[in-house]
């Protein structure tokens, strides 16, 4: 990783500020809203052109919700989203069409991400046809090229999704996402459902594509291992909040938030210099996102929690390598 790739460009491609996405909880006789599941609770992030931001956290931390909120598959409850210089937070569905072309999504489950009744050819042609990108012979040529790019033989164009393996379906999904020449791709755990050997293939493909096409990725995963290979920066989430963010090297070498450290302990690191400090084992269960703990959300499971942690919520601070902790771990 050269220094040039680490320095972000001046203006972020994607900026989210104060993003909140809540799901109402309805109970009782009249379906009154008794509370909210605070899936994404006040997140501010920048994503720069050409980088890959890895977003990790346990189930229920809100990482997938952020991804969907950005692409507007979910509607944010509060906050703003800027993409490519434009505020897309409150755009209606029809106004979003232009933006839609520039940001795309790859999904986790290869078995439900492709319409089982459509042949591969049709799956890839549809978005281009709908947006008027190409037609006729030119369309065919583009489809062929897309298939080549992701490593699916052209002769399989007329097959149905169920005739392909999981890894191949993900490739087709990637091809579909690429068809509109996006700038940003949100990858929602794209390799979690695949066999380990296939994971490597897909990750390599994504990396190559990034280099070739100058793509920007938001790579969502639930473990640090998955994002290590592909990310430039990593953000760690817990119960709807970002608890630490920094470059990949920093996160792995000098984790500052106890939660990050705990995640690292779960991920086998061969290099002893990268192992961080003491081993942290977390107690207890993840609290419910409908009712997050007061103060620092992590304090109920943090081995270093102190009185202040129970009362005051820490803010994310520290510049390029920031952590939301009152007592961040010392650097090595």
């Amino acid at each position: 990783m050269t220094t040039a790739e680490r320095i972000p460009a001046a203006e972020p491609l994607l900026r989210i500020e104060g993003l909140k996405t809540y799901y109402p909880i309805k109970r009782g006789l009249l379906s009154r809203t008794v509370g909210n599941v605070k899936a994404v609770d006040d997140i501010t992030l920048n994503l720069y052109q050409g980088e890959t931001l890895g977003l990790v956290g346990e189930s229920g931390c809100g990482k997938s919700t952020i991804g969907r909120s950005i692409v507007r598959l979910e509607n944010p409850t509060d906050g703003r989203i800027w993409f490519d210089g434009e505020d897309i937070t409150n755009r209606s569905m029809s106004d979003l069409r232009g933006a839609r072309m520039k940001m795309q999504m790859i999904f986790q489950d290869p078995y439900s991400s492709l319409n089982p009744r459509m042949r591969v050819q049709e799956l890839l042609a549809e978005p281009m046809r709908v947006h008027g990108v190409a037609g006729g012979a030119e369309l065919e040529a583009k489809i062929d090229k897309l298939l080549d790019t992701v490593g699916i033989p052209r002769s399989y164009k007329q097959r149905f999704p169920h005739e392909f393996s999981g890894g191949q379906r993900q490739r087709i999904g990637i091809a579909r996402a690429l068809s509109l020449n996006p700038k940003l791709i949100v990858c929602d755990e794209p390799v979690s459902a695949l066999d380990v050997s296939i994971q490597a293939q897909i990750l390599n493909l994504l990396k190559d594509l990034q280099k070739e096409l100058g793509l920007t990725y938001l790579f969502i995963a639930h473990g640090l291992g998955a994002v290590k290979y592909i990310s430039t920066r990593i953000a760690v989430m817990y119960l709807g909040k970002v608890v630490e963010i920094g470059t990949k090297e920093e996160i792995f070498a000098n984790p500052r938030h106890p939660y990050t450290q705990a995640l690292l302990n779960a991920y086998p690191v061969p290099d002893p210099r990268e192992r961080g400090q003491e081993r942290i084992v977390l107690q207890g269960d993840v609290p419910s996102p409908a009712n997050p703990p007061a103060g620092c959300r992590f304090h109920t499971r943090c081995p270093f929690a102190q009185a202040k942690c129970k009362e005051q919520e820490p803010i994310l601070r520290g510049g390029d390598h920031a952590a939301a902790c009152h007592f961040p771990l010392a650097a090595l």
């Binding site: 999504m105 999904f107 699916i152 392909f164």
Partner: protein, 301 residues
């Protein structure tokens, strides 16, 4: 179908066919699986036969179903293969013409209620909110009606013409398919390929008609097939009670009404056994087809 691993194109490696291979479409596959059910195939053939009879009844029957010949309540003979009824009309002719009634009622009812119910179910599931709530309550209301009793009331009030009959039967059948479609659509809405479609900027009508509906078709088709059989059953029951198709128009149901009298039942079995058997055979055949379709369209491969 076993998964095919894509061989990486390498010079001198695995040969890749020059022409794209075209896998068989959904319809072919369904037809292939359908044919494996012998009973379903038999049912299908019988159904076609009945439609044929319905269309060509005038050419097939020896007499007019309305013409009164001299002998009444006559036993089967050379000129009247199934004898004559109380008024003197040829039973065979009435039997054949009654096929038309059955086919019209069966397919007409289904055509109406499937179209209406599917549209309502689609809208209800996709729009959600108030629309969904109202539709659910309305279907609850209709489904709570004791079917037969209310149909009797309505038919007796509006007059038992074929048209009213079809409309009334359709009126009480659409809620269940609306619920069915709504359920399917709600499930399909969660599919990633629908979400991908939204992310790709596809318009809502396109997503609904190109992505959701084709994947929801299977249960609709099965329901519709069984619906034809149910409509024919219902019509014959109503006609039997005198609340359905009225004589002189012949319907298998109303040909059985007179059999309630013991003397007719014992002395003139040719009057009521054939129409009863026809109803049984028709409903049975269509049910077999429905069962075959259900298995053929089952997504679990």
């Amino acid at each position: 179908m076993s998964a095919v691993e894509a061989p990486v194109p390498v010079a001198g490696g695995v040969a890749i066919p020059a022409q794209p291979e075209r896998s068989e479409g959904a319809f072919r596959q369904m037809a292939r699986r359908f044919v494996k059910h012998k009973l379903a195939v038999v049912g299908f053939v019988v159904t076609l036969l009945l439609i044929f009879i319905a269309i060509f009844a005038p050419w097939l029957s020896p007499h007019s179903p309305y013409a009164v010949t001299a002998e009444f309540s006559a036993a089967p003979s050379a000129s009247h293969w199934l004898g004559t009824d109380q008024v003197g009309r040829d039973v065979l002719a009435r039997l054949l013409y009654a096929t038309r009634v059955a086919v019209i009622v069966g397919f007409g009812t289904v055509a109406i209620y499937v179209t209406f119910g599917t549209v309502v179910g689609l809208l209800s599931a996709y729009l959600g909110g108030w629309v969904d709530l109202i539709v659910m309550r309305v279907t609850d209301m209709f489904m709570a009606f004791p079917y037969m009793m209310v149909i009797l009331v309505v038919v007796s009030v509006l007059g038992p013409t074929l048209g009213t009959l079809v409309l009334v039967l359709a009126l009480f059948s659409w809620p269940s398919i609306a619920r069915l479609v709504r359920g399917s659509v709600l499930t399909l809405k969660q599919m990633d390929y629908v979400k991908a479609g939204i992310a790709l900027g596809l318009s809502t009508p396109r997503i609904v008609f190109r992505h959701i509906l084709p994947n929801a078709l299977a249960p609709i088709i099965v329901n519709a097939t069984f619906g034809v059989a149910a409509a024919i059953m219902a019509e014959s029951g109503l006609s039997f009670l005198g609340m359905g198709v009225q004589p002189p128009t012949a319907s298998w149901g109303n040909m059985l009404t007179d059999a309630q009298s013991i003397s007719v039942m014992t002395d003139q079995p040719w009057l009521w056994l054939p129409p009863g058997i026809m109803i049984l055979v028709t409903v049975l055949a269509i049910n077999f087809v429905g069962d075959g379709l259900r298995d053929a369209l089952d997504p679990k491969q």
